[in-house]
């Protein structure tokens, strides 16, 4: 029998109150309870980055944070990025930077943080920032191309 706690969390601008098992991780809560299946579950030990999402303005691993820890926070999933990720979505499409698409939500979350943090169109710096996100299709060249395009304004 799993212990549970009530949490109140604002997901993509909408505040929800729910009882969560304390052992449930944040990404499972978002997918299974909230029906927000954009954030993917990959390795479940913080290596692959497929579950990357934003909590209180900083990207985190959704699999290394418990849902109960999200009490009182603002969570943004890929479904909630809206215009913030519009240019990146276009650039990813133009550059063929999404292949199977499994890593894409996490890649976009990481890339948004890099761009909004004032990151330069410096391939090494982009690679370093995205280093926590695996692309099993090995589409890294195109992904870095797409991020560079957005920073350079090429796809604006």
């Amino acid at each position: 029998m799993s212990d549970s706690k009530m949490i109140s969390v604002t997901v993509n601008g909408e505040t929800t109150t729910a009882a969560v098992p304390v052992r449930q991780n944040l990404v499972d809560f978002l997918r299974n309870t909230m029906g927000l299946t954009g954030s993917h579950v990959g390795c479940e030990h913080g290596v692959c980055g497929a579950c990357t999402l934003e909590v209180d303005g900083a990207m985190v691993r959704g699999c290394l944070m418990l849902a109960v820890q999200a009490d009182g926070t603002q969570v943004t999933t890929i479904e909630g990025y809206g215009d913030r990720a519009a240019a990146l979505r276009d650039a990813f499409t133009a550059r063929n930077a999404l292949q199977c698409g499994y890593c894409t939500p996490g890649m976009l979350a990481s890339a948004v943080e890099y761009i909004e943090g004032g990151g330069a169109a410096d391939r090494a710096a982009i690679r370093e920032h995205l280093s926590g996100n695996y692309c099993r299709c090995t589409g890294y060249q195109s992904i870095v191309d797409a991020v560079c395009d957005v920073i350079d304004g090429a796809s604006a």
Binding site: D3, G49, L64, E113, G132
Partner: protein
């Protein structure tokens, strides 16, 4: 995999947290940033009966300068160290190593105290604290005490922490006119290193501190290497002095490979001094 079941509390005061941790029946573990503990729990390598979430304890957070020494609260996140002028001015070795400590999303939540308390043999922070001659402050219901980093890391995930004790702060002595270097070899940027070294030495190239991570069951100083370097020995002689270290292989590399890589990282770090 999912973590085994546990109870969860987020105490509002340090006193409440220490009381929960002191109760042996609860088998409680402190939860700091969770970036190492949660993977261990998801792998079922750890299964505490209760998690005591420290995130509500603002008193354990923050970076201050006291009499030239840098004091870092245990719950200070890596991302906060990255943006700190105090850290880059007074502990440039930490500033230099930060980009290599995990990935940006992990640094957004991972804490310095969590890394020190867990003592993962592949983590950077224990070795950095050895090289910096840092002091680790721990607290329990009985009071607080200080450990030299030198005496704190005892084995694989094993520290001088006793049941009921919590790491509350790290103090790094005034840097003086010392120089620092850091080098690690990892398969992917930000992953655990296959071998890494943190170096500190006086500007006149005496009094070296050479601390390794990810080569043995714990972060450790290579005192024989330090002696060679203090005497002005050649790099090759310093590498030869690695001989006596208790290298232990892991999934990525055998102990012989670790030994080989230890020489390489030493050479490259010395080149960066």
């Amino acid at each position: 995999m999912k973590a085994a079941d546990f109870l969860y509390e987020r105490p509002a005061s340090l006193g409440d947290a220490l009381a929960l941790l002191a109760d042996a029946d609860r088998d409680a573990a402190p939860l700091a940033g969770g970036q190492s503990l949660m993977p261990m729990m998801n792998f079922r390598l750890a299964a505490p009966g209760m998690l005591v979430d420290l995130s509500g304890l603002d008193a354990l957070r923050g970076i201050t300068l006291e009499d030239g020494a840098l004091r870092i609260g245990a719950m200070t996140r890596y991302v906060e160290l990255t943006g700190s002028d105090l850290v880059s001015d007074h502990a440039p070795l930490i500033a230099q190593a930060l980009p290599h400590i995990a990935h940006a999303a992990v640094r957004n939540r991972g804490t310095i105290g969590g890394s020190v308390a867990l003592a993962d043999p592949a983590a950077e922070m224990p070795a950095l604290l050895l090289a910096l001659d840092a002091v680790i402050t721990v607290q329990s219901e009985e009071g607080s005490k200080d450990h030299a980093a030198n005496d704190f890391f005892l084995g694989m995930y094993e520290t001088a922490l006793e049941p009921g004790e919590l790491v509350t702060a790290i103090t790094i002595p005034p840097r003086g006119d010392r120089r620092f270097a850091f080098y690690e070899l990892a398969r992917r940027h930000g992953d655990y290193a296959m071998a890494g070294v943190a170096l500190s030495c006086a500007t006149d190239r005496t009094d070296h501190r050479v601390a390794y991570f990810s080569i043995a069951d714990r972060a450790l100083r290579a005192t024989a290497v330090e002696a060679v370097l203090d005497a002005g020995g050649a790099v090759d002689d310093a590498i030869a002095a690695l001989e006596g270290l208790p290298f232990s292989g892991d999934l990525n590399a055998s102990d012989a490979t670790k030994k080989h890589l230890s020489g390489i990282v030493l050479k490259r770090a010395l080149g960066g001094l």
